[in-house]
Amino acid sequence: MLSIKNLHASIGDKEILKGINLEVKAGEIHAIMGPNGAGKSTLSAIIAGNENYEVTEGEIFLDNEDISELAPEERAHKGVFLSFQYPVEIPGVSVTNFMRTAINETRKANKLEEMPANEMLKVIREKSELLEIDRKFLSRSLNEGFSGGEKKRNEIFQMAMLEPKLAILDETDSGLDIDALRIVANGVNKLKSDKNAIIVITHYQRLLDYIVPDFVHVLYNGRIVKSGDASLAHELEDKGYDWIKQEQEA
């Protein structure tokens, strides 16, 4: 589904990604781990099409189509979703209104009719139950005054609403207490199918106890330096990242 080939990217003069190769198939969950500053969030931003980064080399394919040159909304229309590490506030725009706009813009781009209001309400009800969200919450301004946990839960609610092909969860576990973490992880697991794929970006093993990855990759200094199965995450939890650093510098 997602195929990244020799991806190099920089911000200003600084090269952050130095040749990433990654293959993600439908039905798979991949975890990308690594120390601060390794380039994890840069990678997710670039897949989503953030224009603050310059791709200097390499390609990104989604279902065999090169999406490297597409605008962020075009990638979204093709089913790329990014759960933000720091979701942005939009005062005066309710969660419901934001979702309605997002869904209908996506449908419009895919030459579909707008979703009828009653269907929209039905889906909202269904998905908010899935994530144990109080529906009063949905009339609040997007992310304004939300707690860290509410913001992250709202990101996954949006994922549930948009039903993406490829979801990238950037540090979704940060700011979550253990109960919220369980709810969010349960939600993600229920959304998982053999038709979609998920990339989980995290520092810690903790989230991976709930969302069990098929593959774990270690990102260090702009490269994927190690790949393995779920046990690699446990190894990192035990040994820390110094082990990787030493191995790389040796």
Partner: protein, 482 residues
């Protein structure tokens, strides 16, 4: 003109869509340019006005001659040559074959996007309209329904003839002839406008609406509006403005007077969309308007305005809270793009005890525009326990525009409580990217963010106006993000 009936209007509306940018091919009866006492007399004569009205105009004209144009506003423009304007233009006949040739295609595109026809609005929204084409009100609809309740809603010219006692008693009591340069000019030469009287205890059953548009090239538009809500009555009044594209600047100097007697309430909503000039800042309407309301005991006046048009706007809808417990409200959205300049706000004059006022102002600037809020909150010595809350928020787009806030507070009573909050924010790239990532293209994202920012004010508009206003905001800001 007098034979033009409601039915004629209805046919006209059915057979052609009302589009703002049309320079309708009407054979106009236009006065020569220039202004002097003879012109003022001629206007009055043409309108078959009584002597007291002619004298009132002349008094205003003589005062105006002695006045100088105000320069304190935060706007820069070439002052109009008042001797180069024609002060009267009345359509002789309506030509159903309109020509599109004169119209800027960009404008046409905009009207198409707005997708509004007067007919549609009228039918769908139960709105009665008094349509002002240039200066003479050509028709008034729904008059009958209103008549049954004793509500008078007609052009001010008709009112001068049919209800001289009401007009004479109230005209100029809220905005005196000599109030300011433009009000004096308006008092001397006003060509038409609307008059509304709601009798004691009557709640007006529908929104009253006036559509103004400037038509004849080089003619100024000087409407005069007078709304009187008698004791215990209620009225909601909508005013929409559109104007066609013109290269030279057109002057628009209106006066609106509202009078709310004891326990009465007036809601006055405006969507102003005069031609703002092109992207290079050429052309556009000068909008120099004086709007003021007078509140007696327990009365309430709400001004709500959405200002997206005009090259230069100078406008301060105000409330004089004379009666005890009276309430004044001002809700405003002002959008400036390209080279537009707006200096707008309100004055809340608290004279009575326990008077309350609320000011919510949302300024949105884009392009190379300048957007200023200017407001006065004045508490008189007898205004025990007066309260004011003001909130002025500015939203900036890009790095070449300006937002300014000039709040003036004068309190002569120690029991007064005045609160002022102000914020300035910028639409962030991160907000836009967040929307993009959810599949929302940038133009739509900006509209969403701007609508969210303006929500507190949009919510105050009557439903049918709110929809139009949202579309207008969207269109006004198109192309403002590079």
């Amino acid at each position: 003109m007098s034979k033009y009936t409601e039915d004629d209007l209805k046919i006209e509306l059915e057979t052609k869509e009302y589009e703002y940018g049309f320079y309708t091919n009407i054979e106009s009866d236009t006065f020569p340019i220039g202004l002097n006492e003879d012109i003022v007399r001629a206007i009055s004569l043409r309108k078959e006005e009584p002597q007291w009205m002619t004298d009132w105009r002349l008094e205003a004209f003589r005062a105006w001659e002695q006045m100088i144009e105000p320069e304190w506003a935060n706007v820069k423009y070439a002052k109009p040559d008042f001797q180069a304007i024609s002060y009267y233009s009345a359509p002789k006949a309506i030509d159903p074959n309109k020509s599109l040739d004169d119209v800027d295609p960009e404008l046409l595109e905009m009207y198409k996007k707005l997708g509004i026809s007067v007919d549609e609005q009228k039918m769908m929204n139960n709105v009665a309209m008094d349509i002002v084409v240039d200066s003479v009100s050509v028709a008034t609809t729904f008059k009958k329904t209103l008549g049954e309740k004793g509500i008078i809603f007609m052009s001010i010219s008709e009112a001068i003839k049919e209800h001289p006692e009401l007009v004479r008693k109230h005209l100029g009591t809220v905005v005196p002839q000599k109030d300011n340069f433009y009000a004096a000019l308006n008092s001397a030469v006003f060509s038409d406008g609307s008059f509304c009287y709601i009798p004691k205890g009557v709640k007006c059953p529908m929104e009253l609406s006036t559509y103004f548009r400037i038509n004849q090239a080089g003619t100024g538009q000087f409407e005069r509006t007078l709304v009187i809500a008698d004791e215990g009555s209620y009225v909601s009044y909508l005013e929409g403005c559109t104007a066609p594209s013109r290269d030279e600047n057109q002057l628009h100097a209106a006066v609106v007077e509202l009078i709310a007697l004891d326990d009465a309430e007036i809601k006055y909503s405006t969507v102003q969309n005069w031609y703002p000039g092109n992207k290079e800042g050429k052309g556009g309407v000068f909008n120099f308007v004086t709007k003021r309301g007078w509140c007696e005991k327990n009365a309430k006046i709400s001004w709500t305005q959405v200002e997206t048009g005009s090259a230069v706007t100078w406008k301060y809808p105000s409330c004089v809270l004379k009666g005890d417990n009276s309430v004044g409200e001002f809700y405003s959205i002002a959008v400036t793009n390209n080279f537009q300049q707006a200096d707008t706000g309100t004055k809340m004059i608290h004279l009575g005890k326990n008077t309350k006022s609320t000011i919510i102002s949302k300024g949105i600037s884009a392009g190379k525009s300048q957007n200023s809020y200017r407001g006065l909150v004045k508490i008189g010595p007898n205004a025990e326990n007066a309260r004011n809350f003001s909130q002025c928020d500015s939203l900036l787009m890009g790095n070449n525009c300006g937002a300014h806030t000039f709040p003036y507070i004068e309190s002569k009573n120690p029991s007064a409580k005045i609160e002022h909050e102000a914020t300035t924010s910028k639409i962030g790239e991160d907000q836009v990217f967040y929307c993009n990532q959810r599949g929302i293209p940038t133009e739509k994202a900006i509209a969403l963010i701007v609508n969210g920012f303006s929500k507190d004010v949009l919510n105050k508009l009557p439903m049918e106006f709110a929809v139009e206003a949202q579309k207008l905001l969207e269109i006004s800001l198109e192309g403002s993000v590079g």
